[in-house]
Symmetry: C2
Subunit: 532 residues, 2 copies
């Protein structure tokens, strides 16, 4: 509690939660007395310096001490960052303030971005399985496979559907507006360039038009988002596509200097070439095998990956119940690869967590442990049942919070997250593209980072909005969320926190942190030699 | 400090500022133990209810107890509010999420807005003298006066200038693109409707076109904003316009159920009909006289007004020095009407407070008291010298912070404001129109209100953006910043806080609060009789 004299530089305990209103008055009187006395300029400047330093020490990374190599890299980083800020203050477009579809080219020209690409970013902890491999690869590989058919759906978005058939059905599928058509025939007829561009437009949210016109609100953005994911889901379920797709995802992330991934997914039953549907247990087994195989293929380079099984949030309670049971059993079978459970899909449109409370309490009632990784508070709608998901996620002891966009409007939830050391998974570009915020400087994670609140930066569904792997989101966080003063220490802390808040075991974390340190040292040398 | 067991519902001391990282780990372990044990549904729901109630009690107004009359009005209010939220969640346009120029019509149809219009809102504490009287009145009255001339400036915006002449100059003024022209002749020539609409377009930011196209960024918005204010300034400086203009401003605010105002201004030297320029001391004397006259004209209805003298933030140190001296002397001469001092103009473009630190420390060095009411942090540019204004404002013991838009990115500044009980003057529509934020649900004051951080709602320059007096901003705060659960208690607290955080003396505040209570009781009766 606040103990007068409440000189604010040395005493920050007068924080909002812990001070009743009557106490504020006492504090205020004491401060007024202090400050209406003779005050020399020097005393003022010293006080000011203390406040500025205190602010700075609170920021994510603010308590890290940089070594001499890091300080030299930091000097370079802050010089190019200052140049980009200065240009923006003079009127040049500031990428975080623009829609990503308008700013992507600008970001690529940024020297800050180029450094961030090289920076070992640690882990990407909030990713969805069907949007982690570049669409270019998906289109040029998966859709070139033999026996692939497509149709356009009857839904409002005219979504694309894919299916593999040795012999296609001769009657129209009820969800299709037309008969299944051969991809290779259609491609030959239209020309590969035209057809593949058409596929890209169906499978991506990207647009060269004004994105605010194309997606005037969150609902419109989500409609196209979900419509874009469908055809990738269809492809990835094919057993012939599944492994090369996942392999390619990890390859692309490692190339972007990400060393560990946690991937959410519905655990789709895979389909064989003759249409047989395999078990979800088998899918998990494939994930585990491929994760391990990839680690072996990149010795000393990749720390691995884990899977977070998710149900859609608009399904019936019975389905969540059986999925939770499946999750418990998979957690036993694959303790090193199966991280836990989540509910996914647009929060504004699905059931809130409280709707499934009986099912979600099941593990604790069975005295079993099932880590949760709930999406919560991915909304602008304060005070609705939707943003109360934050409270349920925390009461259910979620390991991290997916998005947590609304958390700064929930002081008690913030205190809970902090006391439980629950990190927020921040996905800046996703939040912008899906219509939560236009100018990323207004993203609530700016507040979180300024307080050193535990956050990890991730990219959600980067393939759908053509946002690479993790570097674009890291750039937006560094330039748009963390402010001009955030430096290499902030980037270092974000990278380290991504390992610290991962679902890895303590020994896995230790190994991952050692690997990260090795990569970090090489990165410092690489930058130093390039700026000589 | 956090004392385990850190059960978060009962123990919120684990707040971000006061808990070192090592302590978080202990807290987290304790909580995990608590929550992985057998947990009954009922215990869960009780815990949940406690968290939800705790959240609710933190919100501005959350600790107020409503009496039975207030509860009945609240029931009506929350019914109509829920209806408007439900429609928006179903896809109807939600006014705070749109640009005000698009949402004004929608707001006027809202039953919540209609109630807010009637609600006694207390004080408007952040207002600028030349944008507080509706432009309709200004155009239909001030510009119809004899001997008024105008010219279009040579500046990029083609700003309008006014001047009164008995005999106009025959040579072109250097700032004018053309010779001074008679307003009445031009009006006769073009027709009053056409000419007056042209005047409105020159004197207002309003546009029927897409405001995001017309004002693509903050710089474009500010250019038009400043260009719109110039001609009003020219008119108001005329001694024949000054008093009726100010009288009309107070009349309009009282009609909008505002009972007290604090008005910032440059203290322009008034001009007589023969062009003689009077002293600024005289301007202040006129303010004091008119304020008192107005209070007498509305006995038991209006608590008065005070003036906050302001310098522009791009002027030389010498000017600030002499303005501070003038402020000290006016504070002695008009203790009941002269509230204090501020610096105004676009923060992004002017000098930061630290630039004038020697001048601003003058009063304390002279052991004199000069209340400050600094604009600070009206920016999206975190970490720049601009948003450090927040720190200087607080170190200089500002009485309130104008805008403070950036404060949630400054944890130490937040703690300082809280310990000094310094309220933030929140002007939602201004911040939107001047390009800081698009969707008001992303306004940082949503975070402040959720914590019960001291805020007052004001309207800045409402005439320039055609936003009435205070009700539109109150509506935006209630619907867009405070979330769906905020109720009549939030509105009551905001109204009471506007008196509590005013520059009134304690006895004036007491009288104002009594008057407010009387108005509040009538308001409750009026609503109850209308909903019978």
């Amino acid at each position: 509690m606040c103990q007068p004299p409440c000189h604010f530089v040395s005493n920050e305990i007068c924080m909002m939660m812990s001070v009743p209103r009557w106490m504020l008055l006492i504090c205020s009187l004491v401060v007024v007395v202090t400050y209406s006395s003779q005050e020399s300029l020097q005393r003022y400047l010293a006080n000011r310096q203390a406040v500025v330093q205190k602010e700075s020490s609170h920021r994510t990374g603010g308590s890290l001490k940089l070594n001499s190599k890091e300080l030299r890299v930091n000097q370079y980083l802050m010089t190019v960052k200052a140049k980009e800020y200065a240009a923006a203050l003079q009127g040049a477009p500031f990428p975080p303030a623009q829609h990503f579809f308008k700013s992507k080219n600008l970001i690529e020209k940024s020297e800050v971005f180029q450094l961030i690409q090289l920076l070992p970013k640690g882990a990407a902890l909030h990713l969805h399985d069907i949007s982690i491999t570049s669409l270019n690869w998906v289109i040029k590989n998966a859709t070139y496979k033999a026996d692939l058919y497509f149709c356009v759906s009857t839904d409002a978005a005219g979504s694309l559907q894919f299916e593999f058939f040795s012999v296609p059905p001769t009657v129209k599928e009820s969800s299709c507006a037309v008969l299944w058509q051969s991809v290779s025939l259609a491609r030959n007829k239209q020309g590969a360039a035209v057809f593949d561009e058409w596929l890209f437009n169906k499978m991506s949210m990207w647009t060269d038009d004004d994105p605010k016109k194309v997606y005037p609100n969150s609902t419109a953005a989500w409609q196209k988002f979900e419509s874009s994911l469908g055809p990738v889901y269809d492809l990835v379920r094919n057993i012939g596509v599944f492994e090369p797709y996942l392999w390619q995802a990890m390859t692309e992330f490692i190339q972007d200097n990400v060393q560990y991934m946690e991937i959410r997914g519905l655990l789709p039953p895979l389909k064989t070439s003759n249409g047989t549907q395999l078990s979800r247990n088998y899918t998990m087994q494939k994930y585990a095998t491929i994760f391990d195989k990839f680690v072996s293929a990149y010795p000393g380079n990749f720390s691995g990956a884990k899977y977070i099984f998710s149900s859609k949030r608009h399904v019936a309670e019975e389905i969540v119940k059986s999925d939770v049971s499946l999750a418990l059993s998979l957690r036993d079978t694959y303790p090193d690869h199966f991280a836990g459970y989540d509910l996914v899909g647009r929060e504004d449109a699905g059931y809130p967590l409280i709707h499934f409370i009986q099912e979600l309490l099941l593990p604790s009632q069975l005295n079993r442990s099932l880590p949760y990784f709930f999406h919560a508070g991915e909304t602008d709608w304060e005070g609705t049942s939707i943003d109360e998901n934050l409270i349920d996620a925390l009461l259910l002891n979620t390991s991290r919070i997916g998005h947590g966009y609304a958390i700064t409007k929930h002081p008690v939830a913030m205190a809970m997250a902090l006391s439980q050391d629950t990190a927020i998974e921040v996905n800046p570009i996703s939040n912008q593209v899906l219509g939560l915020v236009d100018d990323l400087r207004n993203h609530p994670a700016a507040t979180l980072i300024s307080q050193g609140f535990p956050v990890v930066i991730s990219s959600d569904d980067p393939a759908t909005w053509n946002a690479g792997q993790l570097s674009y989101d890291f750039y937006q966080a560094f330039m748009g969320l963390a402010g001009e003063q955030a430096d290499l220490a902030t980037l270092k802390q974000l990278a380290q926190d991504s390992i610290r808040y991962s679902a890895m075991s303590n020994s896995e974390k230790k190994a991952a942190m050692q690997l990260w340190q090795k990569k970090w040292d090489s990165f410092l040398d690489e930058i130093l030699s390039s700026i000589k």
